[in-house]
């Protein structure tokens, strides 16, 4: 295992009286595909938002690529190579698909080069043919792909994917999984939140399980599927 690129150390996040994250720690090695699962409201999206700097953690720290990034603003975190997609899709709805992705590429280059990068990223997610459409006119699965392309355009080292397979059919899901694998082969590290267990089990080397803001398991898909607490909290009997 190579040196961890992302180290989450004792992250706690409170929203008023609600303990959304409770002392969560885990590490991600460069080149891994990690799954993050747990029931609704477990804190998965909150964890992603905290890692990229949208939320300040109540306590704990995040180290990324050897440096402490706790409390940095999201754009600084993105510049270091860590970004995420949004679960409910947060595109720039009035802009074209191309412009959405182009804005991501502007992080590292000027407008002209960014346009080329954006087209390449759209091509990668299979959406080059709708580059000129307005984001508002897309279907939900298309929007999720544009989100992926937009984050890829920032040239991340680690990409956090929040339920990009929601609302996809089987074929589309296979396509996204193939895409994630090929991105990993190109050197990207991926952490994916998904509720589709088959997808997550076949995609990930390792899975982290959250429940009520606490990490309750961390291991290979096989270990996770056998873990009694995970089965009780989330998986049900199907995987036991």
């Amino acid at each position: 295992m190579s040196a961890p690129i992302l180290q989450v150390d004792g992250i706690t996040k409170r929203f008023g009286g609600l303990l959304a994250l409770d002392n969560v720690s885990f590490e991600v090695a460069a080149g891994d595909i990690i799954g993050l699962i747990g029931p609704n409201g477990a804190g998965k999206s909150t964890l992603f938002s905290t890692l990229v700097g949208l939320h300040k953690p109540t306590s704990g720290s995040v180290r990324f690529a050897g440096a402490d990034i706790t409390g940095l603003k999201p754009h600084k975190v993105a510049a270091r190579g860590l970004t995420k997609t949004f679960q409910n899709v947060a595109l720039f709805m009035e802009a074209t698909v191309l412009d959405n992705v182009l804005i991501g590429a502007l992080l590292r280059e000027g407008v002209a080069e960014a346009r080329t990068t954006a087209m390449a990223c759209l091509d990668r997610v299979g959406l080059a043919h709708i580059a000129g459409k307005t984001a508002n006119d897309l279907s939900f699965p298309e929007r999720a792909r544009v989100e992926v392309a937009r984050s890829l355009a920032t040239r991340p080292k680690v990409l956090l994917l929040d339920e990009v397979m929601a609302a996809l059919n089987h074929v589309e899901m296979e396509e996204i999984m193939a895409l994630i694998r090929s991105l990993r082969d190109d050197g990207l590290t991926v952490v994916a939140v998904e509720h589709h267990m088959h997808a997550i089990m076949s995609l990930c080397e390792r899975i982290v399980v959250l429940n009520f803001g606490r990490k309750i398991a961390d291991g290979t898909p096989q270990d996770i599927a056998k873990d009694p607490e995970v089965v009780r909290a989330y998986l049900g009997r199907e995987y036991a």
Partner: protein, 323 residues
């Protein structure tokens, strides 16, 4: 027709028109004011339209421009061309400092904070009589027709200078819109969280737009002072006279578009002038009421402004003819 053909045609018309008008007459005065307020609407449009930060305090920067150049002219005999740059620099600084407390504010709160800021400056201008002339205002000393001192008996030179300022501000607007800053402003306008997460420094983007907009607004304040020869705190720091007018002109025409403030100004300013001429003796404030109603109407019918309303109308006509 392509947009640039419209632009070229409008510019040629604007250059030619004064040769048909009496240089000391009323129509060219109204036209000059229209161009000035179109430029003001366009400067406002950089924050109000591109970033969707609805400022109701642009009078602050307009007034800073007017007072700075005029005070420098009165006390140091400094050319308003230089005073204009000093005013722009001061306004830019003011916008920069104002950005910090207003940064996190959205919608009405941002509007109210900017409004409060301009009101503070209006009160200062009314009270600091030794420098600003107080409520009585300032008169620009007239020596002789002089380009260096930016003063002329005839309206025509002002017309062309203000037309130049309008073109300059339109070009700045276009350049911003097509540049990285323009893309980032759109991102900030539509979804600030998403913008941050993909690497947009939303704070910096908003400050940059605010500073550019404020500096350009101050230039217009100086031109206004030179053109009208006399102004008081209400005229340049006034909420209705400047701040609301700038916002209405851009919103009525179509905020965030190049043509919006131009259309807005050409509807509002002449109407206002003629309404005032016709009504003011009998019904003070009636024209303001009419504008308020117009604004409510446009927001209810088509919040994207007259530009969209008209182009949709044309599209419908064309469809009807074909179908």
């Amino acid at each position: 027709m392509k947009p640039w053909i419209w632009g070229a045609a409008a510019l040629i018309a604007a250059v030619v028109v004064p040769s048909f008008l009496d240089p000391a007459g009323y129509p060219i005065r109204v036209l000059t004011l229209t161009l000035l307020f179109a430029a003001l609407g366009q400067a406002w449009n950089i924050v109000g339209g591109l970033a969707n930060q609805i400022s109701l305090g642009h009078a602050a920067f307009f007034g800073i421009g007017a007072y700075t150049s005029t005070i420098l002219l009165i006390h140091f005999n400094l050319s308003p061309w230089i005073g204009m740059l000093a005013g722009a620099a001061l306004a830019a600084l003011a916008a920069y400092l104002l950005s910090f407390p207003t940064m996190k504010l959205r919608g009405h709160y941002f509007a109210l904070a900017t409004l409060a800021f301009s009101e503070v400056l209006r009160v200062v201008a009314s009270s600091w009589t030794s420098v600003t002339g107080g409520p009585a205002g300032l008169s620009v000393p007239y020596a002789a027709d002089s380009l260096a001192l930016l003063q002329f008996k005839s309206t025509t030179p002002y017309y062309y200078i203000i037309l130049g300022a309008l073109v300059l501000i339109c070009v700045v607007f276009l350049v911003i819109q097509k540049s990285a800053l323009g893309y980032r402003l759109r991102a900030v306008k539509e979804n600030p969280d998403a913008a941050e997460v993909i690497g947009v420094d939303t704070t910096r983007v908003k400050i940059t737009a605010a500073v550019i907009s404020a500096a350009l607004t101050a230039l217009l304040g100086t031109l206004y002072a030179q053109f009208t020869y006399f102004f008081d705190p209400e005229a340049v720091f006034g909420i209705v006279a400047i701040s609301v007018r700038a916002a209405i002109i851009a919103i009525l025409g179509g905020a965030g578009t190049l043509a919006g403030p131009l259309i807005g100004a050409f509807v509002i300013v002449p109407l206002e002038e003629f309404a005032n001429a016709a009504l003011s003796s009998r019904a003070a404030g009636l024209s303001q009421l009419v504008f308020g109603l117009m604004l409510i109407a446009i927001i209810l019918v088509e919040p994207r402004g007259l530009l969209v309303l008209v182009s949709n109308g044309i599209a419908r006509l064309r469809k009807g003819r074909k179908g």
